[in-house]
Point group: C2
Chain length 206, copies 2
């Protein structure tokens, strides 16, 4: 597997393609051309074809791609074949909000526990997930072999918590705190900053 040569942007687009394919699948479409799929994913047809060739040949010339088969290939490449356990750290405003929003679950991810400095039975019931104190973070991650974490703590403690996560063995962090986390090279961080997205939009409407 020469996954190291696949550009990050390509990997990101694979998810877009997968999403678009799922919509076709429920629409009972059996086969799709690069032109049609590219449009649904918001990219150019040549880019879609180029992206796919990074890890194999999946289409039939003159016909297109099998929706079913390409879907499967993509889940294999993306590593979403099995349900991936995830923990959420920081059950404050945003963290609690994300827990209530169950958008992750249906896409192959399960939030198996949440962590916060302050825990209580009633709060745990509100959130509908196991709520543990920060002191148990390291042990839990190690025992359950957790590899992915959603980080929704305040920016002031984000780096410190990230350090604890990394030390316990977490390899991927979805970071909502508005700071750039310093982590070892083996750890991947994706940043989501809603305020920055809005700020970015505001530039374009002047």
């Amino acid at each position: 597997m020469q996954k190291l040569v696949i550009p990050r942007k390509t990997v990101y687009r694979l998810s877009l393609y997968y999403r678009a394919l799922q919509r076709l699948r429920v629409g009972k479409t059996a086969t799709v051309s690069s032109a049609a799929l590219a449009k649904a994913a918001g990219v150019k047809p040549t880019q879609l074809r180029k992206d796919l060739t990074y890890f194999g040949q999946f289409g039939t010339r003159g016909l297109g791609y099998s929706v079913e088969s390409l879907s499967k290939q993509l889940t294999d490449v993306l590593g979403t074949t099995r349900l991936q356990p995830v923990i959420l750290v920081g059950a404050g405003n945003l963290g609690a909000a994300l827990l209530r929003y169950h958008g992750f679950a249906k896409e192959g991810f399960e939030v198996v526990a949440a962590f916060d400095v302050k825990t209580s039975k009633t709060r745990a019931q509100q959130l509908g997930v196991k709520l543990l104190p920060m002191t148990e973070l390291g042990g839990f991650v190690r025992e359950q072999h957790i590899k992915m974490a959603i980080l929704t703590v305040p920016g002031t403690v984000a780096q410190e918590v990230a350090n604890a996560l990394v030390e316990a063995g977490v390899l991927a962090i979805l970071n909502f705190a508005p700071i750039i986390l310093q982590v070892p090279d083996r750890v991947v961080v994706n940043n989501v900053d809603l305020a920055i997205e809005l700020e970015n939009l505001s530039y374009f409407i002047q």
Copy 2:
């Protein structure tokens, strides 16, 4: 103003720089080098300097940048000098979650109203914001001259709602629905898809 020549990625990074500067400001730092600021923003020093030169010269050679002054310049360029009114469409799980999370407010954006197909007094009170039926969307946008919208409706109706927003005069959409919106060139869309971010991470931990 030759804003058209500034790369999109540069504009995005300006927000990162601004964020980093705010942290320095509360730390009473008066002046900062490109090396220090770049590290805080997670980029290379040369890139930071190149980004800034797209719209002027702000530093002092041998010294660095004035935190105060550069902050102001950035808000000018980004267009966040004035408080920008925003509406949220779709007060379901995710929409409600974002309303409860007040991360936007402190960054210069105010959610002035939320829209949903079903409205009720108690629901509006829970959300802490004016909750209006979808039928009033167009009128409200036109009267209040709303330019920015956060879209948190189900994917199945997202395009339809986006059309209504665009027709009423909205110029920028922060889209959380998992589809690619088709909009006129004058309208800017930023997509945020939490499931895709997780999926993307899962590729890197295989």
